[in-house]
Structure formats: C-alpha cells, structure tokens
C-alpha cells in the first residue's frame, strides 16, 4: 500500500475448516499507530483473521512479517506472542483479584516485585479502575470486567492489540465511556490495533481504516470516509447508511 513503516504485512492468508474456506486474504498491511477495524457479516472470518495474526491459530498457508521480521505461524510462536496481545468478547478473567489478573501477563514475562506493582498500578489508572484493585474478579459488572481485561492487555505494553468484539457484552453507556478510554490509551502508547465490531459509532470513533470481509474474502478496504462515500458491497451500505 503506502510506503509507511509497516507494522504488519500479511500475504496469502488461507484458512480452511472442515473442507470449507473460512479465510482467503491475499494481502493486508497495517501501519504503526494505525487502528484497523474489520467488519462484515457473521461467519465472514473476522475472528479467524485475528486469531491467525495473534499466533493462536495455524493457517493452512500464509506469510506474515511483523515489523519486517518473518514469523513462522506453524512453529513455536511464544516469542512472537509476547509482542502482541488479544482481548476477547468475554473478558475471560481469572478467579482472583483484579490486581492479580492484571499482573498475570507480566508474571508470565518474569516481571516481579516492585516493578510489577508499578506497572499494574499504572495500567489500573489508565483504565480508571484503581479502586477495584483488591476486588475479586467474580464481583465485577460487565463493564468493569472488560476494563480489567483491557488493563491486563495494555499492562504488557504490546506493539499490537487485537480486539474481537470487545464492546459486545456492554450496555450502551458503558460502551461509550470505555471507547473513549480505549482511544486515549491507544493514542498514548502509540499502539497499533485491529478491532472487529458490529458497532458503527465505535468504528467511526476508533478506526483509521476499515477492512470489510465477506465469506472469508476482502470486499472493500479504505478509510471510514471512503467507505461512507462509496459502498462496494451491500453490507457496507447497510453498515454506514442506516
């Protein structure tokens, strides 16, 4: 695409499940600091795309370069997976306190002691949940839990954050407040992000570019404005029109 320092370059990503084509993406690039939204009807392959990029799913074929370095998605991806992280629709918190949850990724990387506490406190602050530090994860509302999941992700200072429908489980008010905090944090840390979402407002608010998938194939790609002006696919028209 543009000669920007590419954070991510994907070529020929192909995933098949049970004989059926799930994802067939010839090319995708992501620039640094860019937030890409991936939209499309159900079953379009959005989650599969994120899982592949996250190193959590081994595609049938595809080449990935992360900041210029080739990554083998079928081999041991631990080192690669430590450079990025993923947040799911379900916060998937552990059965312990909020602080312990946020600390998990840091402990995995061998960080401990004072440095651990410092980074945990910082992450809690960034998502405005310092007051929930000692609370058990079982005693949180949906919005609070998703904040903890985000704090846990951002505490790792990842180069790329992947988010699969992170607002779905939230009510509209919680969603609105969280999106602002998320946007702020993405900007603050200069983190690139790929988000899937059904929510037009959030896409407009957060995304630099949008990729539209249908039945595993890309059908449109461009900035939010470009998509709003010219829809190549009925889904896009419906998404931005209504």
């Amino acid at each position: 695409m543009i000669g920007n320092a590419a954070m991510l370059e994907l070529e020929g990503l192909f995933v098949k499940r049970g004989g059926k084509r799930v994802l067939d993406l010839p090319l995708l690039t992501l620039a640094e600091n860019e937030t890409l939204a991936v939209i499309g009807p159900n079953g379009a392959g959005k989650s599969t795309l994120l899982l592949s990029i996250a190193g959590l799913l081994s595609p049938d074929s595809g080449r990935l370069r992360f900041k210029g370095k080739a990554i083998d998605l079928s081999g041991n991806t631990t080192a690669y997976r430590r450079r990025l992280t993923m947040v799911f629709q379900d916060p998937l918190l552990f059965d312990c306190t909020v602080e312990e949850n946020v600390a998990t990724g840091l402990r995995i990387r061998g960080i401990g002691g004072k440095e651990l506490h410092r980074q945990v406190d910082l992450a809690l602050e960034r998502f405005k949940i310092t007051h929930l530090g000692r609370r058990s994860a079982r005693a949180l509302s949906g919005g609070e839990a998703q904040r903890v999941a985000l704090a846990r992700a951002f505490a790792l200072q990842p180069e790329l954050v992947l988010m699969d429908e992170p607002f779905n489980a939230l009510d509209p008010l919680a969603r609105r407040v969280l999106v602002d905090d998320l946007a702020h944090n993405l900007h603050l840390a200069g983190t690139a992000a790929i988000i899937t979402s059904h929510d037009r407002d959030k896409v407009q608010r957060l995304a630099n570019r949008v990729l539209v998938l249908d039945k595993g194939r890309p059908v449109q790609y461009g900035t939010v404005d470009e998509l709003q002006q010219k829809a190549h696919h009925p889904f896009v028209a419906a998404f931005f029109g209504g």
Binding site: L51, A54, G55, L56, T78, R81, R82, T85, M86, V87, F88, D90, L92, F94, D95, C96, T97, E100, T104, G105, I108, R109, R152, A153, L156, L162
Partner: protein, 232 residues
C-alpha cells in the same frame, strides 16, 4: 453405647500415652497414603489435563475407561497387584509383596483413576477460550498448563482430597498386599479389622477414631490450601 464411650476413652488413652505401637501404625498409615496420593496426583492431574486438552481418536473411550476405573472395587485392585507381585508373578523377583511399598502401589492404583477422572472434568469445565486468552498474554505451553491448573484449583484439590480419603480408609487391598505384619505393614485399617476379629472392640473403635482424626487433619490442611486466595 457403652462400647462407644469405651472406644473414645481408649483412643484418648492411646494417644495421650503416645503408645509406641499405635503411633507407629498411625505414622505408617499417613506415610503410605500420603505417598500414594502424591504419586496419583502427579499421574492423575497431569494425565487428566493432557487428556482434557488434547484431541485424538478414541478420546471418549479413554475418558470412559478412566471413569470406570474410579468404580473398580479397591479389593480387586489389591488382587491384581498381588498377582503381579507374587513370586510366580512378573515382578516377583523384587520381593515387594508384604512390604509398605506394595501398599503404596496398590493404593496408587486405586487413587489414580479417581484423581484423573475428576481432573479431566475440571479442566474441561474451564471456558474453552481461556486457553487462547492465556496464550494471548504471551504464555508458553507450559505456563498455559500451569495457569489452567491454577484456575481449576478448587475441583483439583477436591480430587486430591477424594483420592486421599479413599486410600487412607481402604482395608481390603492393604490387607492383601501388605499382610498386616506387626511393626512393618500394619496400618490403621488393617489393625482395626484384626482387633475386631480378636474381640478387642474398644481398641478397634479407638483405632477407627484415630483414623478419622488423621483423615480430618489432612483434609483440613488441604482445604485451607484450596480456599486460599491466589498467592501474590
């Protein structure tokens, strides 16, 4: 009723006076069952986790076998181990029959399916996406398994307690492979049966009560660990 009070009085007397023989029998019960539980925990938890997390042809059959193993009568396990350890058996040359080692082996056979079966269910009960989330936080496969075990600690601890409870109270297999030899393989359960057969019902009751106290002590310890908050 009087017999029950006699039993309690005798138990108290035996414990307070630190009766050498009773102490050694109690200690042996604890050692043997603790070791068997430890081994079955390693095999059961790790094996159960491996089964729960993998996909392979015949998985359902394997899980069924494990679950069936939970219901095997302990005395049958004892018979099987006896046949293996007989002089004429495949492992006769090691002369393990009628030693505490034999009891540990038999009790491990009894406890392992139990611990394994519950572990499989405990791991399978975790949200499937949790595995992905842990990996997405940068965990290696080993770290992932550890974090899953931590997350399932409540049912896993229950499995271990069930394993221990099952073997410390077991008598048939322990009698068969151990021989209830005085000072060597006599444990609380086999001693209780023997004293009963001799007509010393108060002693038998006392030994039974001591076993209950021992069992309670161990389970209390394990429960405290189970209910603890995750360490900082």
């Amino acid at each position: 009723m009087e017999l029950l009070f006699d039993g309690i009085a005798t138990a108290w007397r035996l414990l307070i006076s630190l009766d050498r023989e009773v102490l050694s029998i109690t200690l042996l019960s604890l050692k043997v069952s603790a070791l068997a539980t430890l081994i079955s925990m390693l095999i059961g938890v790790l094996g159960g986790t491996a089964i729960a997390l993998s996909r392979f042809p015949g998985k359902r059959l394997v899980v069924s076998l494990v679950n069936t193993g939970m219901g095997v009568p302990p005395v049958v396990a004892g018979l099987f181990v006896t046949i293996m350890l007989w002089r004429s058996g495949p492992f006769g040359q090691f002369e393990i029959l009628y030693t505490p080692t034999a009891i540990v082996i038999a009790q491990t056979f009894i406890a392992t399916p139990l611990v394994m079966g519950i572990s499989v269910a405990a791991i399978q009960n975790l949200p499937p996406a949790l595995r992905l989330q842990i990996l997405a936080l940068g965990a290696s496969r080993l770290q992932m398994v550890w974090l899953l075990l931590l997350e399932a600690r409540l049912p896993l601890m229950a499995a271990i307690m069930a394993g221990f409870g099952g073997v410390v109270s077991e008598v048939g297999a322990s009698m068969m492979v151990g021989g209830n030899i005085k000072g060597y393989t006599r444990v609380l359960t086999t001693a209780t049966v023997m004293e009963s057969g001799r007509g010393n019902f108060d002693t038998a009751l006392a030994l039974g009560l001591i076993l209950l106290v021992l069992s309670f002590g161990v389970n209390y310890l394990l429960t405290v660990i189970q209910q603890r908050q995750r360490p900082r």
